[in-house]
Amino acid sequence: MSLPQVDITPEIVAEHGLTSDEYKTVLDILGRAPNITELGIFSVMWSEHCSYKSSRVWLKTLPTEGPQVIQGPGENAGVVDIGDGDAAVFKIESHNHPSFIEPYQGAATGVGGIMRDVFTMGARPIANLNALRFGEPAHAKTRHLVSGVVAGIGGYGNCMGIPTVGGEVNFDKAYNGNILVNAMTVGLARTDKIFYSKASGIGNPVVYVGSKTGRDGIHGATMASAEFSEDSEEKRPTVQVGDPFTEKLLLEACLELMATDAIVSIQDMGAAGLTSSSVEMADKGGVGIELELDKVPMREEGMTPYELMLSESQERMLMVLKPGREAEAKAIFDKWELDFAVVGTVTDTGNLTLKWYGETAGEIPVAPLVDASPMYERPWEPTPSSPVVKSEDVASSLSAGAALKKLMASPDLCSRRWIWEQYDHLIGGETVQTPGAADSAIVRLPGKSKALAVTVDCTPRYCLADPITGGAQAVAEAWRNITATGAKPLAITNNMNFGNPERPRIMGQFVGAVKGMSAAAKTLDFPVVSGNVSLYNETNGEAILPTPVIGGVGLIEDAANSVGLGLTETGLILILIGETQGHLGRSIYLRDVVGKDEGAPPPVDLTIERRNGDFVRDLISQKLIAACHDLSDGGLAVAVAEMVLAGGIGATLDAAPPGMGITAWLYGEDQARYLVAVKDEKAVLSAAKAAGVPAHRVGISMGRSLTLPGGDTISLEQLAKTHEAPLPSYMAGETWN
């Protein structure tokens, strides 16, 4: 088993994605030329994906602290205190490109990866969510991608037995060549049993567990590594196949071992597999790690150190154990029929040392590898502001009722039942608010009355028009969705999906979104505890819409007090909380009914957002509210239609306030608003008055149809059909009309 000799030519360096400056730094760090394995390690560690070289300067500006935060960004997932010694552990992650290439496996392995990030920290996953963006329905690939991605997410999560309880989906031609698949997992741990990745204890064993390593996903360097063998193309599938069964065993085995005190630290092998896990563990502990690569369980013959270090085979973990605990740990992994191998030791050299049948296959000082990783302050341009659209100028030939039917059947607003019925959202028996029933999913803690409220949100068309407002709006909407169930928002994770950051306009979108998110996170006390960045989402110079997805987590002390959005009784008074200007710029109405995607998005006033939300949450805790729904895409009309459908009772809306056009009233997307259904109108209105919060009666629940101001009436049956039919019939091959 001799080491393959590869000459490090400038071409090979370039194929590894290192610039000549970056390569010079490599030479300085090593004091010599790297061998191919070392070059591969620098290449992946300094890739955009692992080093965050374009985004790091800006991510550092996000607010990450608060009394509730136990662990902010920098670990496998964020950790938040939820009282009684319990902690919520969560993160979101993208698997965009792999899902475009192979939607089922790409999405499935994305879900597998994010769950590993969460259970690496000692948490049992209790909920999965996903945020999806596809191209326009008419595009040739869209249907196939939707079907594969949804099946893949379900396939993995269902087999793992973790309920998938929420998500969001948009369709836009900007995603034709670059779909987005962002998966989020929320887990539960005890605050005194959180596991971190920091290696320590010179001489401690480094242990590999899980699946064997194959040649999966060794990317970026295909050409260079073609030197190794003739049939390298065939040997190097860039797509990984998920094995949820093995991951389920890995989850149970890890949690079983974590219940002992044998583990010093643990890290999943995600992107850049063995490389990033060993480097991160060593770097955090300020120690060295020596790996005997020939001891790594291998799936295929003839694997090289280069391939072992770069493989992205799934369902694997690296751990440092306390000395002498190997046998005990091995027994657990044997029981679960998983590979277990002692592959190295913690050293005091500060180096990552790679051995191959006794020979040294590489030696890199860890601190410089990490510290010298490139960080760019990429030039950026602010997005030019768009003019505010005057609502008087918005005209359509459709009546209010016809417009509502059109919107309720549109790709971005129609029912997602076809999707979430493919996800097991009931397993565990703790899903108190199921998909479609409330603004956030509510998942109770096993054996307790408290529950977590979870949601993912982003409105990319706002972000395109004004990244700062769009970034703030995404955070505000997540906060609002949690608030609308009665839960208290705790913290967020974020997935920054953008185009090519080397283009100043795109970098400007990123910067703007971060600024908006920061401001909102600060004002709303909604700190960022984890996240993920996915750049270069563009094809032939066409970038995706800027899509900073926010995953929010909140807490409600008693799940029984959470409210859904359905109108389940007649005679409830509908009260609109918040102020309505009738802002139609960038609204769904303007885009999908009028056919113009233009103007400035609705302004986000964070102080008002907070005041209105705190007020609503307070009303819910006083049990004054029977149903609550935040106003977002499609404004008041869509909100009331959704409440009617969810609860099965109709509603009648009063006339628009004097001086306000009916379109602006029904379809404006002003922020910081909630529609609440109450029994005691007086109590709510006087509380609002006392709190200085705008609140007005706008209608009543009654009957079996929805009546809009102006008299347009739609029966419940018709509304349900309009809303439910489009996605299933599109997926069955019909064109979307």
């Binding site: 194959g214 999966d216 065939e234 040997k235 190097r236 196949v241 998920g242 295929e300 029929e337």
Partner: protein
């Protein structure tokens, strides 16, 4: 005309199903089981009577639908 299309995972692509089947066979007491891989067999009846044309059509079917060539290989056999 009848054709059998077999679709198998490319070499090197993880085959969790095959792995589990191999494991289960061992559990049932079968000895000397080496690698097990699982693939798909798709039997297609075609109206086409020209062999060459049928083959061309089947090849296109495989590339367009039956196989995912990113991770799978396919083989076409015309039965009669």
């Amino acid at each position: 005309m009848k054709a059998n299309v077999t679709v198998t995972l490319k070499r090197g692509v993880l085959d969790p199903q095959g792995k589990a089947i191999g494991h289960a066979l061992e559990g049932l007491g079968f000895d000397g089981i080496g690698e097990v891989r699982q693939g798909k067999l798709i039997e297609v009846e075609l109206a086409e009577t020209d062999r060459a044309k049928a083959e061309a059509a089947l090849d296109e079917m495989c590339r367009k639908l039956l196989a995912n060539t990113v991770i799978e290989d396919y083989r076409i056999e015309i039965a009669e």
